[in-house]
Symmetry: C3
Subunit: 233 residues, 3 copies
């Protein structure tokens, strides 16, 4: 049985570097060799990627500062924003996924899910900067592609359409492609591998989409009729 604890120690060493808490790249390298795989080339590839992940996260952090009315300080984003934690776990997990270390990538992604309620499959390709608010209930599938400056709110699903086929469609592009400067409000579901959301699109709360949307559109649902009745007392 693989030890999640050792994988998370390796992750923490990477996290310290990408957050700028330490300049130490030797620890991630050594921990990779001892806890992930005894393959020097792979360890080097991972460690070589950390500086660019650090740069991406810096962009993410500034985008969080700009996007949330409630934010008070950079420190608050690092210490108390689940969305920032989710993206920082994801960027490292995604690198492991690229190195085909799927299981380790998934262990890190699932740890992020436990801590934040945000379930991003390590296969998802997410450009920087990226903003997630609140986060709980967000699901982003394995073959999702997301452009720059996306903003995503709680309970959004970027998912697959034909789940009934199960494991037989392993490897197929099953999840949507999202352009640059897209905002997706709470409760939206966008399903299907052929679905493309254009640049500068805004998608209103609770929209359910299984089709593509061209650039520069705003998509909402007709407001459902409310029924008001005097309450029995």
């Amino acid at each position: 049985m693989i030890c999640s604890k050792e994988v998370m120690e390796f992750f923490k060493a990477c996290e310290n570097f990408v957050l700028g808490c330490s300049d130490d790249l030797v620890s991630p390298f050594k921990l990779y060799l001892s806890s992930i795989k005894n393959d020097e080339n792979e360890a080097r590839a991972l460690v070589d990627a950390l500086p660019s992940i650090k740069k991406q996260l810096r962009e993410d952090l500034l985008f969080f500062m700009e996007s949330d009315p409630a934010v008070d300080s950079e420190e608050e984003v690092v210490l108390a924003y689940p969305g920032f934690k989710a993206i920082r776990y994801h960027r490292i997990a995604h690198k492991l996924y690229e190195l085909k270390e799927f299981l380790y990538a998934r262990i890190i992604a699932e740890e992020a899910h436990v801590q934040t309620g945000v379930d991003i499959h390590p296969g998802a390709q997410i450009a920087s900067p990226f903003f997630i608010d609140h986060g709980t209930g967000i699901v982003i599938g394995e073959t999702t592609i997301i452009g720059k400056r996306a903003k995503i709110y709680q309970s959004v699903t970027l998912g697959a359409l034909s789940l009934s086929k199960g494991h037989r469609i392993h490897g197929v592009k099953r999840h949507p492609t999202i352009g640059d400067d897209v905002t997706i409000y709470a409760g939206v579901s966008i399903l299907g591998g052929d679905v493309k959301i254009g640049n500068r699109v805004t998608i209103g709360s609770n929209v359910f989409l299984t089709e593509s949307i061209p650039d520069d559109m705003k998509v909402t649902i007709g407001k459902p009729q409310l029924v008001l009745q005097k309450r029995e007392r």
Copy 2:
């Protein structure tokens, strides 16, 4: 004050057995006597049930492998699937519930909720195999009954209808009954103790149901009209 930590140590010993990591049934027995209740008959009843829970979980595991397009290995399901963790906590908590050790059952169920976002009341009766994908936001109430080969996605509620009556309806059947081979997609709510969902029913995303559905049906909601507007730039 009861110590959750000791209850979780007992749980971990059970979990090691049901996952096949250990054949030791003495530890669960002893830990039951020290942390749950000093009742040899009850401890024996619990431990005698563990082999059949182990068998159920094996069926669950194979069903997870078959049902999820993204899955890569059995190890991944055990280590990184919150749905599999939720069902494994539930099967042990449910046995404690049957032994009328409600508080201990709830402590284990709530630990699963913390770790997975899946809130299954230990009273719920769930046949094997069972599949939960993503999981966050799933709520399954105390008197729910679920048949074989159910598949349930994120943010599904199997809940009660008349919550305003509060504690006065303690013990009444308040939650739905689900047949065999039922698939319930994300965001569905099924509410009420009289509601029966037939065998081989599929329920599409975001359906809100307070009535029964016969066998072999597919239930969806008429797609809400989308409003597309050119976005101001």
Copy 3:
């Protein structure tokens, strides 16, 4: 970098007092001075508030007992109800927020979010008693005001309307005001700083509200048309 661990130690000392596990007010005082801020007046203000928080939580606890059909004992509420955990973290975090210790308040609130899936901004003003069931996916924004005896179910958002303005609207009242004796069922979103929900209002599942509701009303959505088809076998 601030140490979350020390903040949580301080929180635990407060929690022991407000839960009635200990009468010790010296520990919270000393831990405040060592882990939050070396300001005796602020530490005293915090500690002086703990007895009234304890009283509020006692009211909350009794309201939980009365409101949930599944509850079995007071001990169960304290040990296994995520909603009760969320409100207990919130009441202490909110006091820190009032003392303008925003970052520490947010660290405690985010710990509650991790453990319960309930995301209450420490700025939110919530009267007692208060009841949250299940909890996962609840989001309550910074400038929300909630009256007495509110009941809130899973996946409810009390949020802001014009998020696109981002950090420029920091400090503005952006979230709704909820009266006394209001029940808000699962999946409801109420958005906007001008929205006022009257006393004794009940809001049915999945309602999406951006307008005020007068006293004594019941608000539901017209049930969406279900489409039933015989399933292909």
